[in-house]
């Protein structure tokens, strides 16, 4: 039985483009807010019989619940506040879900006021997910966050299908992707991870453009463009028609994207899309991911991340893995 918190027999630490993570786990942006809600739930639940001894295995500290993570990834933050989308925002699909949240957030200033000291209290590296309608807006967010010591790295979201202007439009054009990357790179020495969309013909082209423009790592995949229809009303279910598909349904798409990008660039990859169990994490790492993010699975099981950290360590031990570096891109 591994004890991940104390002295795991498996070396779980990874380096994601300069971001030091004690294990390869973070959460997918937008599924976890700034972590307070899950931290509270973990703290209130972790010591109960329903948690199968997770607290001990993780050396869980109820005062710093998020410190079990390799890193925390925040909800998208923009320069000014964004209201998000109108109408229905989610629906379930076969083994997945569609969302049309639209990056609702209170803006970077409010984010700094409310969340920075919270991050400081948690003892966890923080990846802030950044969104913008224009290169200038991305720049302003990073500029503001550079003044905050509790921010460890950036994940630049150029892949959100749920906003009209900006968002994914930067992620489907190699020149625009490079421009955003370059603009942010010029402002920071912190790890700069660019989040890519699968909604392109050739994801490796975008990946190469980001690498050349100075990215420290790549994160993939954001949600897959999709749609749902209300047959009674004979209308699209979502006001914006298009929504983003996530969950187990997209795992094969995500794995293929990670595998292809791994072969195309030297940058480390933060892999995500439909991760639900330790075997999935193993697969993403073999395909080329250095670290992984858990998204929609938080909704199914709010304790999934603590569980996954333990189960992944146990799986590695069973598989005779000594250092998980050997897994990364380790496909025979």
């Amino acid at each position: 039985m591994v004890n991940v918190g104390m002295n795991s027999l498996v070396e779980l630490a990874v380096d994601l483009g300069g971001l030091k993570m004690k294990n390869p786990f973070t959460v997918a942006s937008g599924t976890f807010a700034s972590g307070r809600e899950y931290a509270d739930l973990w703290a209130a639940t972790m010591d109960t019989a329903d948690c199968d001894g997770l607290a001990t295995k993780l050396a869980f500290n109820p005062d710093k619940p998020l410190s079990i993570l390799g890193a925390l990834t925040t909800k998208g933050v923009s320069h000014k506040s964004w209201p998000g989308n109108t109408g229905i925002r989610i629906t379930e699909t076969a083994s997945g879900m569609l969302n049309s949240i639209g990056l609702q957030n209170p803006g970077v200033e409010d984010f700094c006021t409310k969340d920075i000291s919270w991050f400081g209290s948690q003892g966890v590296p923080v990846i802030v997910n950044v969104s913008g309608h224009s290169v200038d807006e991305y720049r302003r967010v990073v500029e503001r966050l550079e003044r905050e010591g509790a921010v460890t790295a950036y994940e630049i979201n150029i892949s959100c299908p749920n906003v009209d202007c900006g968002g994914m439009s930067f992620g489907i054009d190699p020149r625009a992707a490079a421009e955003v990357t370059q603009a942010c790179r010029a402002l920071t020495k912190r790890p700069l991870i660019i989040k890519l969309t699968p909604n392109v013909t050739d994801i490796t082209e975008i990946a190469r453009a980001c690498e050349a423009a100075g990215a420290s790592g790549l994160s993939l995949i954001n949600t897959v463009a999709g749609m749902a229809i209300d047959i009674r009303a004979r209308k699209p279910l979502f006001d914006r028609k298009m929504a983003g598909l996530s969950g187990p349904a997209i795992k094969p798409i995500a794995l293929w994207a990670v595998h292809r990008v791994y072969g195309a660039v030297k940058l480390p990859i933060l892999g995500m899309g439909g991760i639900t169990n330790a075997e999935d994490v193993f697969e993403f790492m073999l395909a080329g991911a250095t670290a992984v993010a858990v998204g929609s699975q938080n909704f199914t099981d709010p304790l999934s991340v603590p569980r996954l950290i333990v189960e992944f360590a146990e799986l590695c031990e069973r598989e005779g893995v000594k250092n998980i570096d050997e897994l990364i891109g380790g496909l025979e």
Partner: protein
């Protein structure tokens, strides 16, 4: 207990933070016309529940068809016995899966969630208006109000006599509650919507609290009447929910103070802040 009407019957201020608990199905019965009634044993959640709160129930396997939980109101709870109950309508795959869960099976849920009903301090006469399944979250409220010595008038609406009959399982606490029934087809009680007797009650005066749950257009009408009558009114709104704990922003409600999350800022809201 009620000491001159000063004690708050139930209040948002005392709500506990949600936990994840694995409970056991004690009983799960089909009530006919697509309704079900499930009793769960879950001592920790049962001990923290307040009227108007809900649980976020897992209905599927991790990689299975249903990855999202289903939000369902608690219609009765007993902290001492460690039990709570849910009155549910089988609408789609998720609630159908729930209806197939048998005695002794394990179910996992997040709870207690949400802002509970919060009647004004010193409330003496309350009007509760429920439409269909919306009667469920009002049940623990009328129980708490009656226990606190508040005079309660309940108006219960359903489509027809069969649907109304299914609602009778909620009557286990109906001691001393005045009840008006309405059906859309007139097969039981008043022929028409709950809004007609609700208007009569409010016009007769004397109420200092209105609570309503049911179809949103109905809640909007009731809230409008309460506002006209100058009576404090609370509504309980339904939204699709992913996380159920305030993190994903899938469940927002437009209010005069911007977008609020139905899961944790609601589901019970002061009706006057809702932008309908």
């Amino acid at each position: 207990m009620c000491d001159g009407g000063q004690s708050a019957v139930t209040s948002a201020a005392t709500a506990s933070r949600p936990i994840l608990e694995k409970g056991r199905v004690i009983d799960n019965v089909a009530l006919g016309s697509g309704m079900g009634f499930i009793t769960l044993e879950a001592p920790r959640v049962a001990s923290m529940l307040l009227p108007g709160q809900f649980v976020h129930l897992r209905v599927g396997e991790p990689c299975g068809e249903h990855i999202l939980r289903r939000p369902l109101s608690v219609c009765d709870f007993d902290a001492d016995a460690g039990l709570f109950k849910i009155y549910y309508q089988i609408k789609g795959g998720g609630t159908a899966a729930l209806s197939a869960r048998g005695k002794g099976e394990e179910l996992d849920f997040i709870g207690p969630i949400g802002r509970p009903w919060t009647p004004p301090e010193g409330c003496t006469r309350a009007l509760l208006v429920g439409g269909g399944v919306g009667c469920a979250p009002l049940t623990p409220l009328y129980k708490a109000l009656l226990e606190a010595g508040v005079e309660v008038q309940m108006i219960r609406g359903a489509q027809n006599a069969t649907m109304m009959a299914a609602l009778e399982v909620l009557d286990f606490t109906n001691t001393g509650c005045k009840m008006i029934l309405t059906t859309d087809d007139g097969s039981v009680g008043y022929h028409g919507f709950v809004t007609v007797p609700a208007r009569e009650c409010l016009q007769s005066g004397g109420y200092d609290y209105v609570a309503t749950c049911g179809p949103e257009p109905m809640q909007k009408l009731i809230a409008g009447m309460a506002a006209e009558a100058g009576v404090y009114c609370e509504v309980s709104l339904e939204r699709r929910m992913a996380c159920g704990i305030g993190a994903c922003l899938s469940c927002v409600v437009d209010t005069t103070d911007g977008k609020k999350r139905a899961c944790v800022d609601g589901p019970v809201f002061d009706a006057s802040v809702i932008v309908w």
